[in-house]
């Protein structure tokens, strides 16, 4: 492994000669946002070992210095993600004038993804060149090559017709933070002056082989600031005319939404953070329900079933969990996957009906005859994916 890393570093250093590096770093101070963005993307794609070089780089330009530090931080986070979660799905392709069907198949094979073409002529000719590009960048490149857009669904990747919107993104190994929606809203009601509004949705997407310890976190992806082109704060209050926000749910993604001033000077810069525990190891905990007060232990945590009843009205019980960190209990316990086991081996899923981080109530609609135990999944080891991100050049329609 060390040998592999060393040779990669050498290759990186050879490829990225000092004068080239100097050229890319110089572009970090360019007038054009697009040029700055391209330079940052290039530098962020370097081998993580380049972080030290970037940190030590001498420059009098404060903005370039800040960007170099941010890129170095990104490289270090990338290194840590690669260490914890293993190889990022990447693709290297050089296909010119090939059929779309064959390009999609080759890319799918490289990324270990099934890519379905929706509405495209499979025999259409397309060219795609990728060099060690991570999954998210590879899929975007394919979409751009055919003026399509990508859906990352539970049953595979769908490439559909219709050019994807120009929205900024940041890829971090298996993860990508991107603006997925920028919206202007104009309303009218007879009762009030419905002021215009605007909102931006940002998503954190992750490779399908990764698994967050749970899917209902509150602050897993957080937009912290939005500034306009003049550096002014551009976050706005949710308009009073609005009903509950209907946040679109995407598979393999977390989303956050922010309202922004519709008259803010564009483009906007959106910044925030990611803090999501992903499971490394899980196990199924099985325990009896018969004896009150009996506990089962797993590591530093203990579990106790309380008030178990099974009547014509259904099954009810509470699960009390004790441990050193009550917040971590919420991350480790898979409360949406709890099963009551009967004497004959049959299993009935029960639903979580409320409680706290240490006391969970469950209900099942049907009576379980001769219940003997419950079982549930418990995350024994996890890794918190934590990093800050900034997306520049965000435009409203």
């Amino acid at each position: 492994m060390r040998l592999l890393l060393t040779s990669t570093l050498l290759l990186s250093v050879l490829q990225e000669k000092q004068d080239d590096l100097s050229k890319w770093i110089g572009k970090l101070g360019a007038e054009s946002i697009e040029e700055r963005d391209a330079a940052a993307r290039h530098l962020e794609s370097l081998d993580p070992a380049a972080a030290e070089t970037l940190e030590a780089w001498k420059t009098d330009d404060a903005e370039i210095r800040a960007r170099l530090d941010s890129i170095a931080k990104t490289l270090r986070v990338r290194a840590s993600l690669a260490r914890v979660f293993g190889t990022t799905r990447r693709a290297t392709l050089a296909m010119k004038g090939a059929t779309l069907e064959s390009v999609a198949a080759a890319l799918g094979k490289a990324l270990d993804e099934k890519i379905e073409l929706v509405g495209f002529d499979p025999s259409a000719k397309v060219s795609l060149t990728l060099s060690n590009a991570p999954l998210w960048d590879s899929l975007s490149a394919l979409a751009d090559a055919v003026e399509g857009h990508i859906g990352y669904w539970a049953n595979g990747v769908k490439l559909s017709k219709g050019k994807r919107g120009t929205l900024p993104s940041k890829t971090m190994e298996q993860f990508q933070v991107s603006v997925v929606q920028a919206t202007r809203l104009e309303t009218w009601t007879p009762s009030s002056d419905a002021a215009p509004a605007a909102m931006i949705c940002v998503a954190l997407r992750y490779q399908r082989n990764l698994k967050p310890t749970r899917s209902d976190f509150n602050n897993e992806l957080k937009i912290t600031t939005v500034t306009d082109a003049k550096g002014n704060k551009a976050v706005a209050r949710r308009p009073a005319w609005g009903e509950s926000l209907m946040v679109a749910s995407r598979p393999f993604a977390f989303t956050d939404v922010v309202f922004v001033a519709p008259d803010a000077v564009l483009p906007l810069t959106v910044a925030g953070s990611v803090n999501v525990p992903f499971a490394i190891e899980e196990k199924t905990v099985e325990m009896a329900v018969a004896k009150a007060g009996e506990t089962t232990e797993e590591g530093d945590y203990s579990f106790e079933v309380r008030g178990f009843t099974s009547t014509e009205a259904g099954v009810r019980f509470a699960l009390r969990i004790k441990g050193p960190d009550s917040e971590e209990i919420g991350w480790r316990f898979q409360k949406d996957d709890v099963i009551v086991v009967a004497k004959d081996g049959s299993e009935s899923r029960v639903g979580w009906s409320g409680g706290s981080d240490t006391h969970y109530r469950f209900e099942g609609a049907a009576k379980v005859v001769d219940p003997v135990g419950i079982k549930f999944r418990w995350t024994t080891k996890f890794h918190r994916v934590q990093f800050d991100w900034t997306l520049e050049n965000v435009r409203l329609p």
Binding site: Q181, T187, W188, R238, W241, A313
Partner: protein, 341 residues
């Protein structure tokens, strides 16, 4: 707003009783006239203390309850039953609160009323492309003794939507995505707690040129509401419109941080209780508190939890006489221009 709204015939099964009609033609304090309306229609109507109990004059003959309510609020100018906070649980009774009275473009059809309460344009750039959508928001209101059920069986069918230039704005639902994959901020529905709403997506049009026509029909299940008091003494029977209830058990919940009782009721006749309750009740006569009790139903058995220790009785709101109604609506010549306050 310049508009003409025509209510068409309400189609109801022949055996249904005629809708309540009220006549108010007098001057008096707002509260006295609301009480008179309550008496005539047999439904409690509450007034929030924030409403000025001023003298008003009103004149309606053989009107529906909603028409009479509109007339009272219109005469008062500072009272309304529409909109308001999204309180949970909702108030037990229809409550008139302080607020500007707004005459929405509306259609009266039998006891019901359908109104146009908003328009919204969304322009967006997404990872699937750029798009513009427009939606019209309609609400269907029922008088306080009835409930239009939001049970998945309600269907809003639009036969024609035309803009001021006679362009057809109607989209075929099956051929146009409804933006389910987009994050949306819909308009607040004004008929909260008294009706149901629907935002219909239309082809983009010039709002300033107005709308020539919105025509369609709402089909939905409607139930009558009745508050019944059920004794929680074990074994005691209570006759209701749904049948005779027997209390199977009423036990305090152990380990709860507040006083709670779990109650199991069953219907003596064994009829199914599916969709039989509104989900709210009270054991507190003095405060008239309205709690969410969320009964779990299994056949003829209902189990629920109330926030009281050994309450002795409970008031539950039941649904009875479910019927299917068709509520046609037709709005003509609607103008959006220059109407904002």
């Amino acid at each position: 707003m310049k508009q003409i709204a025509l209510g068409l015939l309400l189609i109801l099964p022949a055996q249904e009783k005629a809708p309540v009609r009220v006549t108010l033609s007098e001057s008096g304090s707002f509260s006295a006239l609301v009480r008179e309306l309550s008496t005539q229609c047999g439904v409690t109507i509450a007034i929030d203390p924030s409403v000025d109990d001023k003298q008003i004059k009103v004149s309606v003959r053989e009107a529906t309850v909603l028409q009479a309510l509109d007339a009272l609020c219109r005469a008062h100018k500072g009272a309304t039953y529409l909109g308001g906070a999204n309180a949970w649980p909702p108030p037990r009774h229809l409550t008139l609160r302080a607020g500007d009275w707004v005459d929405y473009p509306s259609v009266t059809a039998g006891e019901f009323k359908i109104l146009l309460d908003g328009w919204q344009r969304t322009k967006e750039i997404t990872d699937a492309g750029a798009d513009e959508t427009q939606r019209l928001s309609l609400s269907a209101l029922a008088p306080p003794n009835l409930r239009i059920l939001l049970n998945g069986k309600e269907t809003w069918s639009f036969s024609s939507i035309k803009d001021g230039k006679d362009n057809d704005l109607l989209l075929k639902e099956s051929s146009e995505a409804d933006g389910w994959d987009r994050t949306r901020l819909p308009l607040k529905t004004i008929g909260r707690h008294v009706g149901i709403s629907r935002a219909v997506r239309v082809r983009p049009f010039d709002k300033d040129a107005g709308l020539k026509l919105i025509e369609g029909v709402l089909e939905a299940d409607v139930v009558e509401l009745e508050d019944v008091t059920i004794s929680l003494d074990a074994g005691k029977e209570t006759a209701t419109a749904l049948g005779t209830f027997v209390v199977s058990s009423s036990t305090p919940v152990k380990g709860s941080s507040r006083p709670e009782t779990r109650v199991t009721l069953s219907l003596k006749e064994g009829t199914s209780l599916a969709d039989a309750f509104e989900g709210f009740g009270t054991t507190d006569k003095a405060e008239d508190r309205w709690d969410y009790v969320n009964p779990t139903i299994k056949g003829a058995i209902a189990e629920f939890q109330v926030r009281a220790q050994d309450p002795g009785w409970i008031v539950l709101r039941i649904r009875k006489n479910t019927r299917r109604v068709k509520i046609p609506f037709r709005f003509e010549n609607l103008s959006f221009a220059g109407e904002k306050k």
